[in-house]
């Protein structure tokens, strides 16, 4: 690290720190749409940021554009009449400030004011700003601003604006704000919307895509360059999007950080004096062996050179109480960088900054380009993927959202859902199965436990911790079927494909944006095969990097790469709220006896009796049995399924049913009896509503029940015995 000391002209000195390593990122975008040159200063006492930027905006379409649209996201927190809060009434998100005592009423609300907006070298347009409401009739909502231009922007023309703004941060409600001396500044400046040309994301004609801020929705923005100088008190630790070009101490006790990043569509930052800063390098050649490189290159079908990753400078800003999670955070981030990189293409940026959020802050677990927020607990459980799950997920958004820039307002499932799928694949590859429960003395308990509890020095001198870990053991949950519970509870609330604010409620938004999509992609993977699916995902990712895809673009890639028409699949699983449920209704097996009953023999009626026929069967050395297996479709989803029938002596027969009609029956005449049958034995239909009815044995079998009975009866007795404590 090179340090240069300047002596100021007057009294103070300024300290400028050149960055440890040079910026190596080369832009992949021919013509950036936005270029922000910004200066912003945080006043932690007032919870305000005052800022100025010049914005160069390029009209990439053939249209002539008469006005500009801006997001003023912070105004969602201005009052209870904002669409954000009105959406949320009766649902989840009302500020719980009432419960949280600290801070005055005034300091809790947030807003952003555009103090001045002017064409560079031209007219002052401040007086022409109006609030508009493209999504609802809420005149009180101020989260979208329209600027009428004196002169329209010609096709492929450029406009340059100069903007002064003041942002007041709210007590954190969702994704941004402050708690005490901790600040998370996201969606904090007036941000221009996305102008979509005809044909983009299925649009018939060009227009602005600039939605209001809703309780459930996230964001959408165009790619470009952020060149930002952030100023905060010198004792604050600051992390932000992008590469740090310089750091300069100012005479007034503040420090200015110069951040720069190309090819990103947002800029967020955090500041807190208590952050512990840890920096490590993701050295990709150490993390990825040559064998792994070859293996995955062939798996996703690309030349080895294209499979190579790059080194990344990772900065973790961790809360003092979470320092013990540092290694786990880094391991999770490195696993993310490795597998996302190998599967979808290298993480292209030089830096990744990760902010660990304090307890009680609603800013956790968010994604911004090259900057994410994560969270952990004081003593995270040994077997649960916490903080790994959230860390890999938020990192994964660098690929699904930051690099492939879908519209989170309209198609949240394209990043949240794809990321749920990818994250679970990384977790199972890097860590194995998750534990949704852990066993303590044989009893399964939810896995958010603190293990190996560190003790204070006194009075436990010499005993550093209670090693309770070994008494816990994992109850494994396969990643491919996790999230089923939340999906099944809300399976019929909505079709999967909806605008973010049009779902029944926040829970349905969550289900349909995250877990259900993950399960759907797993089901697609089962249909296509793992390798084809990997190639689909890679092709889709590479094709849409630094661009804005929509669902149809993904479906097109699926059909193209797989060489199949999978539209039936998407119609079934994305555009309806039907559930899949296949079941084995019946398994029977009967001896095939000789003649029993009245038969015409030589023109005369002759009765063949039952008993002798049975006796003859017993004696026979060539016994034959008639077996039947009835499979039924109880759900509305039509999907092809496998049926596996087990016979005596280890013989199995596999059937393939198109799953169209309500039922199918398979019959067999064989020397062996059918023992059991199973529909969808590989659990390909990850969305299946009820796995417990997927198999059936011909004869009931109480052995498992006996095992469970003996194991549980003792703990039940113990429980009742302990309940006697209160008598």
């Amino acid at each position: 690290m090179k340090t240069i000391l300047h002596l100021g002209l007057l009294t103070a000195f300024a300290l400028s720190v050149a960055s440890a390593s040079a910026q190596t990122y080369k832009s992949h975008i021919e013509h950036p749409i936005v270029r922000y040159r910004m200066q912003a200063k945080l006043d932690p006492e007032a919870k305000k940021v005052t800022g100025h930027y010049s914005l160069t905006w390029w009209n990439h379409t053939d249209n002539t554009i008469a006005d500009l649209y801006f997001h003023l996201y912070l105004n969602a927190f201005k009052n209870m009449d904002s669409t954000f809060f009105r959406d949320a009434f009766g649902h989840r998100r009302r500020p719980d400030w009432q419960r949280r005592e600290r801070g005055s009423e005034e300091s809790r609300w947030g807003w952003v004011d555009v103090n001045k907006l002017q064409l560079v070298g031209g007219a002052d347009l401040t007086s022409s700003l109006t609030f508009v409401h493209p999504d609802d009739d809420n005149a009180a909502d101020q989260t979208v601003m329209r600027v009428a231009l004196p002169q329209p922007i010609p096709p492929h023309g450029t406009i340059e604006l100069s903007v002064d703004f003041t942002a007041k941060l709210p007590r954190s409600v969702a994704r941004n704000g402050y708690e005490g001396d901790y600040f998370l500044l996201a969606q904090w400046f007036p941000k221009i919307g996305v102008y979509e040309g005809a044909g983009e994301r299925g649009r018939k004609q060009g227009g602005w895509n600039c939605h209001q801020y809703h309780a459930n929705t996230e964001f959408y923005a165009d790619y470009g360059i952020y060149d930002v100088e952030l100023t905060a008190p010198a004792n604050y630790v600051v992390g932000a999007t992008g590469f740090r070009l310089a750091e300069q101490r100012n005479p007034d006790g503040t420090t200015t950080y110069h951040q720069y990043q190309e090819d990103v569509h947002d800029f967020a930052w955090t500041a807190c004096p208590r952050f512990v800063k840890v920096t490590r390098t993701f050295d990709w050649r150490k993390e990825v062996s040559h064998e792994e490189l070859l293996k995955w290159a062939s798996f996703v079908n690309v030349p080895t050179e294209q499979e190579e990753l790059r080194d990344v400078n990772v900065t973790l800003l961790v809360q003092p109480d979470h320092v013990n999670s540092t290694d786990r955070y880094f391991r999770a981030l490195f696993n993310g960088l490795k597998y996302f990189g190998l599967w979808y293409g290298q993480y292209p940026y030089d830096t990744l900054t990760v902010a660990d959020t304090p307890r009680n802050s609603a800013t956790c677990c968010m994604e911004y380009p090259t900057f994410i927020t994560v969270g952990t607990s004081l003593w995270p459980g040994e077997h649960a993927f916490h903080p790994e799950g959230v860390t890999v997920h938020e990192f994964g958004h660098q690929f699904w959202y930051a690099l492939v820039g879908n519209n989170e307002f309209e198609e949240a499932f394209l990043d949240e859902g794809f990321n749920t799928y990818s994250t679970s694949k990384v977790l199972e590859t890097a860590y194995g199965a998750a534990c949704s429960y852990e066993r303590v003395f044989g009893i399964p308990i939810p896995s958010f436990t603190w293990l190996d509890v560190p003790l204070p020095r006194f009075p436990f001198a010499g005993v550093p911790s209670i090693p309770v870990g070994p008494y816990f053991s994992c109850v494994e949950t396969p990643e491919r079927t996790s999230d089923r519970r939340s999906y099944l509870l809300n399976a019929k609330d909505d079709d999967l494909v909806r605008f973010g604010w049009e779902y029944l409620n926040g829970v349905s938004y969550g289900t349909n944006s995250y877990g259900r999509v993950g399960l759907t992609l797993r089901t697609l993977e089962s249909n296509l095969g793992e390798q084809t699916m990997a190639r689909v995902m890679r092709t889709y990712h590479q094709r849409w990097r630094y661009r804005h895809p929509c669902l149809d673009d993904f479906i097109a890639v699926v059909n193209e790469v797989s060489g199949q028409n999978m539209n039936w699949f998407f119609q079934q699983f994305l555009y309806s709220s039907n559930v899949a449920d296949y079941t084995i209704a019946d398994v029977t097996s009967e001896p095939i006896l000789g003649k029993v009953g009245v038969y015409e023999v030589s023109g005369r009626k002759q009765t063949f009796r039952d008993k002798p026929a049975q006796k003859a069967f017993e004696k026979s050395t060539n016994k034959q049995y008639h077996s039947s297996v009835t499979v039924r479709r109880l759900g509305e989803v039509l999907a092809p399924v496998d049926v596996l029938v087990h016979f005596e002596k280890g013989e199995t027969v596999r059937e393939h049913w198109d799953g169209q009609y309500r039922w199918v029956r398979y019959t067999y005449d064989k020397p062996a009896k059918a023992i059991s049958a199973e529909v969808d034995p590989a659990r390909k239909l990850a969305l299946e509503a009820n796995f417990t009815n997927n198999s059936r044995t011909r004869e009931e079998d109480n052995r498992a029940a006996a095992k469970w009975y003996v194991r549980w009866i003792f703990w039940l007795e113990t429980l009742f015995f302990s309940a006697g404590f209160f008598s």
Binding site: R99, R100, E101, R102, G103, E179, G180, D181, Y182, R274, Q319, P320, D321, H322, P358, R359, N360, S361, S377, L378, F441, R703, A706, K707, V710, R711, I713, F714, E717, T718, F721, G724, F725, F726, S727
Partner: protein
């Protein structure tokens, strides 16, 4: 440990005495149920007092303290102090519950031993007794109880769990080993339960004996 002064004072009522108090009297199911019925309603009244006490412990120590500390910790940015405060509340609540349990134990002993018909008086006298000799009363109460809990630890440590899990964990079923392991496990567990009940009775017997000696 019979024949204390307390017994002597009650000699005139000998005819009415519960048979289980005197091994010389005829024992049997009839005597047992008659004696049990004799104390039943007092015990129920005592149990209601006990439940009210437990409820107060939960209300005051657990909920009350939690509500109080929530106000200080709700805006805390650090996890550690919040954890220790919550752990403290948990421990105070457990201590409160154990104390009520101790008092109720001695109240039950008192109720039978002194032929006390008023549950309230039995409770109050036990409360006074427990508070005035807290340490000894606690030791008499705790030692057999902890031995009972110790049986659980023995169960956990002595049973060859890897063998059991291996035998029962497989999807298959051998005709001898699995039923045998199941049966052994079942009877072993019942023996542990029996032991726990035995230590519970031993705890009461110790308390009975200690009450007699202390009077």
């Amino acid at each position: 440990m019979r024949g204390s002064r307390g017994d002597a004072a009650r000699r005139p009522y000998e005819a009415e005495r519960a048979h289980f108090r005197d091994p010389d009297l005829p024992q049997g199911p009839f005597a047992f149920f008659r004696d049990a019925g004799r104390y039943a309603w007092r015990m129920v009244r005592l149990m209601i007092i006990g439940l009210i006490c437990y409820w107060l412990v939960f209300l005051v120590l657990n909920q009350g303290f939690a509500r109080l500390t929530r106000r200080w910790t709700v805006a805390a940015l650090d996890d550690r102090p919040v954890f220790w405060i919550n752990l403290g509340i948990g421990l105070v609540t457990v201590v409160g519950l154990l104390f009520v349990n101790l008092v109720m134990d001695y109240a039950r002993v008192n109720l039978v031993r002194e032929e006390e018909t008023s549950a309230v008086l039995a409770f109050l006298s036990s409360l006074g007794f427990s508070l005035s000799r807290l340490r000894k009363a606690l030791a008499v109460y705790a030692i057999p109880s902890l031995l009972g809990v110790g049986l659980l630890v023995v169960y956990r440590l002595v049973v060859p769990w890897s063998f059991v899990n291996e035998s029962l964990g497989s999807a298959g079923w051998s005709h001898l080993r699995e039923p045998l392991v199941l049966a052994l496990l079942f009877f072993g567990q019942q023996a542990i339960m029996l032991g726990r009940y035995w230590f519970r009775v031993a705890a009461w017997a110790s308390e009975w004996s200690y009450c007699g000696g202390a009077n």
